[in-house]
Subunit: 232 residues, 2 copies
């Protein structure tokens, strides 16, 4: 297989953004850490070579190893037509991806506001405060932005799907899992984002992927965690 | 002037990463919000056009408007030789930038762990807990990574400076301002990073910039804030 993806084997996490792009591109890939001895292979590969990564995910192809989700997506986008080729379109897609990444970071920090090295149970009070700000102010602000960008188009850039659409789909799915009440409220304000989510889910390769065993279910080890006490 | 930078007028913040790249490139730029009526112009421009930004900074050039610090730096890097042109080198530079951005986000959240819309004074206890994890675990981990990548080279990619070097310089400067004790400890473990910092500061255009009135001093409104109670 051309692509080797290195990411934690039991969560969607940031690796899922890469999986979705490779699936939409119709590319075969080895999800290395999900194979036998996979986590050891992941940990060894993390430090190898001249372009090591600070953390998974990273992707190997044609002798290159690329880390950081947004950089990986830029590469897949260029190779498989999931972003425009011209400078302005390429950077605009990337700008949208980076803004989605900001939202994803904020979603992660709702359950780990004090530190990613500590357990949720040891920062539950802080998590409650942070989540209250996230659901009341941040989700609505991000959704208003993406709703404005999308407008009445099929996809964020117009008629052609890009990796940013796949990432926005995944992020809305994650928020709907983690914060069902707050996300339903926000989607009711922006039905075009709900339509985008359904439009991406219905793309043949994405639909096939979502119903396959390759799609790991959401769970409480990933970025998007359902802690009902945080969904206000 | 070819470039118009839109960013808050009284802080270094994320805009400083863009300023440093434009300064190193020797490019003239208008720092719009620092001119008369500038903040109004910034707020109006934020929502204008077909590629609006979620937040400053954003940069206008040749009819393009690009937001998100890392995307802006990619553009400047391509136009002014502050990154390699080949795919692998271009993406590696970007990967490093995105990892620096992760560190910058974590530095910001030390004083705003609960929410960026609340005052520091209203989340001081949480800030103390988060900073303790940041100084004890996160700064050492990031410095170990960048120290390993740098090795005994002059710059992160070898002999040529890239925008990632400028960004790492700025981030070390910011950490040394906000957390002087913790940063001194970490730099003592990685003298090559301290050397990189001095090497960048001594580049003629950067040195001229740093001693000019264009360089806004660090202060307690930006990303890197000196709250001595957090520097443990």
């Amino acid at each position: 297989m051309a692509y080797q993806l290195f990411y934690w084997p039991s969560i969607q996490g940031r690796g899922e953004y890469v999986r979705l792009a490779l699936e939409e591109a119709g590319e075969d890939y080895e999800d290395v850490a999900r194979g036998p001895g996979g986590v050891d292979a992941l940990m060894a590969a993390l430090k190898e070579g001249s372009t090591p990564s600070f953390a998974p995910p990273f992707l190997r192809v044609d002798g290159m190893t690329v880390g950081q989700t947004a950089a990986i997506l830029m590469l897949i986008g260029e190779r498989h037509g999931l972003a425009p080729q011209d400078t302005a379109g390429r950077l605009w897609t990337h700008q949208l991806q980076l803004t989605i990444a900001d939202l994803v970071n904020e979603a992660h920090d709702t359950h780990h506001p004090v530190g990613s090295g500590l357990y949720y149970e040891d920062q539950q009070e802080e998590a409650r405060r942070r989540s209250s700000d996230f659901t009341a102010a941040r989700i609505p602000k991000f959704f208003a932005y993406f709703g404005h960008v999308l407008g009445d188009q099929d996809y964020l850039l117009g008629s052609d799907v890009t990796y940013a659409d796949l990432s926005l789909f995944q992020t809305i799915e994650g928020l709907a899992y983690a914060f069902p009440k707050a996300t339903a409220r926000a989607l009711a304000q922006h039905p075009n984002l709900d339509a985008l989510r359904r439009r991406v889910a219905a793309r043949p390769r994405i639909a096939a992927y979502l119903s396959s065993p390759r799609r790991i279910p959401f769970n409480e080890e990933g970025i998007f965690r359902r802690y009902p006490e945080l969904d206000t």
